[in-house]
Symmetry: C3
Subunit: 138 residues, 3 copies
């Protein structure tokens, strides 16, 4: 069984956000799969998808601050049409990635106890973000 | 054909470890697949899975030292309940990732000549680590 | 439907290169898939595959300069048999990754408007680079 669906994530402030429920809540077809995989592709180059801690918001704040220090806005970038957050957003997007593949068991995504799906919004005003979700399994 | 299996990796010291044989040795079902894919999801947020050099241990030591320098323990993290290695482990886990997808041909994982599967253990005492392996193919 | 194919990318200078057309142009079997996935595994440990901006070459130059600053050649690496670019290439390969999974719809790879496939060539003289492409779908 194959199923493809476009998901839209609502606009968010710059930083890292827990979006597990916003994603799985849109995927009614998950319930039909006993063993399979869910693929997510974020169709942007200035945001990211990653798995990390699903409980303490200070982990997401510390992550944002780490990337502010290590992918600085004031480096000598040539590509800066859209402001100081433009090129750092492209770098963070490739460091963290824009794609996730997750196992499905008995209609549910099989994350670890402490794992959640994070959206990294790396622009000051990123707007809505679009994901192509592909489900396959039996 | 779909096959899902939970793998447990034995506890390891902090650092990078070559685990190709420990993983594929537990996957008897690999032999049944002529063309397919093996997906691995490490169900943790303070360790990682990556592909890198499968021969010289100094590559793994240099990698560990790179991450010690670039994801420092003494940054001003808010999340530090579990010690100085806590937040750096979360950052390294997202930088390197916790998931791999590998092609299968004639019952074997088709890695390059110099590629091996590395476990990044980013905690001082991480304990056993769990992987959900999903095999599919024909 | 499953299809596996080895792709060879021509030798390139150190830096980031847009290779979307070189890859999809070799995959005639894409046209047979209505809904599916394309997996790419670069079989090397000193290069990378990532998705990023497909238009302005200065994004690729800024990315190269970011990694030159943040994965320095003059750090105290033990593994340096093959020159100063040796160990930094291994680090960049794991930071960016060597594998991509992309959705397919109606015979085409469903990238975002601004997304393209980048090869990161991290050696001064990397030579040809080999990819195992796996297509599946219906």
């Amino acid at each position: 069984m194959w199923h493809r669906q476009t998901l839209v994530l609502k606009p968010r402030a710059r930083g890292f956000h827990l979006v597990t429920d916003e994603i799985t809540g849109q995927l009614a077809a998950l319930a039909d799969i006993n063993t399979g995989l869910l693929h997510l592709l974020l169709q942007h180059t200035s945001a990211s998808l990653t798995l990390n801690e699903n409980c303490d918001p200070s982990v997401r704040a510390d992550m944002e601050n780490h990337f502010l220090r290590h992918v600085p806005q004031d480096a000598p970038y040539e590509h800066d049409y859209e402001g100081l957050d433009d090129m750092p957003a492209h770098i963070k997007s490739s460091l963290l990635g824009v794609s996730l593949l997750l196992p499905i068991g008995r209609g549910k995504v099989l994350l670890g106890t402490w794992q959640g799906i994070w959206l990294g919004e790396h622009r000051n005003r990123g707007g809505e973000r679009r994901i192509i979700a592909t489900l396959q399994g039996e």
